[in-house]
């Protein structure tokens, strides 16, 4: 699931390459995502911008970078202090996707740098993510979805749904909404598994 949007593009005098890659990683695939970004940097493509389902890279000398992601719901007035604390300790903020903050560090300066140095605080991070997922999926799962399906069952009585064209759009909407909820529930299960694995570790 990877498509490169634009290849090398000259900018001014120096032919700096920029490329945009469409790729999807889910919340439970952090290791895979960081490994991919680190491989890209070793090939001389450094992450410059993150967007939904796409990444923008800028070409430069190959570097041994480390990429990590923090999940933090943070108030606007606290963002500067938050980023500053990370920057002071060698983590450059590249951007964020909602509450996911993307950081990059230089492994040649510190070979085992990490955002989290104990399991307890790692668990807290995943619990924040879990609460977030529960809040956004809970109402859909317990209220919206049952109501959508009830209308389909009651189709005969429903004047709008007895129109074939409208029913088609309705069905497409229901299918998409169901898929989103399935992914979210799967995500919650995977995050719970991560928390469980961390809890079994006897280290603090």
């Amino acid at each position: 699931m990877e498509r490169i949007f634009s290849g090398k593009r000259g900018i001014g005098m120096n032919s700096t390459g920029i490329k945009r890659v469409v790729r999807t990683f889910w919340a439970w695939q952090e290791d895979k995502e960081s490994k991919w970004l680190e491989d890209m940097s070793r090939k001389g493509w450094h992450l410059e911008k993150v967007g939904f389902f796409n990444y923008t890279f800028r070409e430069g000398p190959p570097r041994d970078y480390v990429y990590r992601f923090d999940f933090k719901v943070i108030r606007n007035k606290d963002v500067d202090d938050y980023k500053e604390t990370f920057k002071d300790s060698g983590w450059e903020n590249i951007g964020n996707l909602g509450s996911w903050f993307y950081f990059r560090g230089d492994r040649s300066k510190d070979p085992d740098m990490e955002l989290y140095n104990d399991n307890k605080s790692k668990i807290e991070k995943y619990k924040r993510l879990l609460i977030f997922l529960a809040i956004i999926t809970g109402p859909g799962l317990s209220w919206v979805l049952p109501n959508l399906y009830m209308r389909v069952i009651d189709m005969q009585a429903d004047s709008i749904l007895s129109n074939p064209v409208l029913f088609y759009f309705y069905a497409v909407f229901v299918v998409i909404f169901t898929l989103v909820e399935i992914i979210a529930v799967y995500g919650i299960i995977r995050i719970l598994m991560i928390i469980n694995r961390l809890k079994k570790d006897i280290r603090e």
Binding site: E84, D112, N117, S121, E204
Partner: protein
């Protein structure tokens, strides 16, 4: 909740949180805490900024530390300072750690392991 009950509720602190708390016996900003903890532990503990940020949030919520008024710090970096409850917490933890250390040493020696 009374202070004693609150302290018991939060005990035991993690190693990281304990070190952050004792570092804040003098006012410091985030990176200052990281440097001090690394120095105190002889380089053993390298605080990650994610862990630090989470612990500071928890300590603020528990009212063991507070933000220093912003005159001293530059605006972007917050400066943290310990409060009375935090000092009581440190005292409680020192007693707990001393008990652990004493029992550990006593039983370790009795078993005829390496002694000092």
């Amino acid at each position: 909740m009374s202070d004693i009950r609150k302290i018991k509720k939060y005990s035991p602190l993690t190693e990281t949180t304990f070190y952050i708390l004792i570092s804040l016996l003098e006012p410091l900003h985030g990176y200052g805490i990281m440097q001090k903890v690394e120095r105190l532990s002889g380089g053993r503990i390298k605080l990650g900024p994610g862990t630090l940020y989470g612990a500071l949030g928890n300590l603020l919520e528990a009212k063991m530390i507070e933000l220093e008024s912003s005159e001293i710090s530059d605006n972007r970096r917050k400066v943290y300072r310990i409060k009375g409850l935090g000092i009581d917490m440190i005292e409680h933890e020192i007693n707990r750690l001393e008990e652990m250390l004493k029992n550990g040493k006593d039983l370790f020696r009795k078993k005829g392991n390496r002694d000092e």
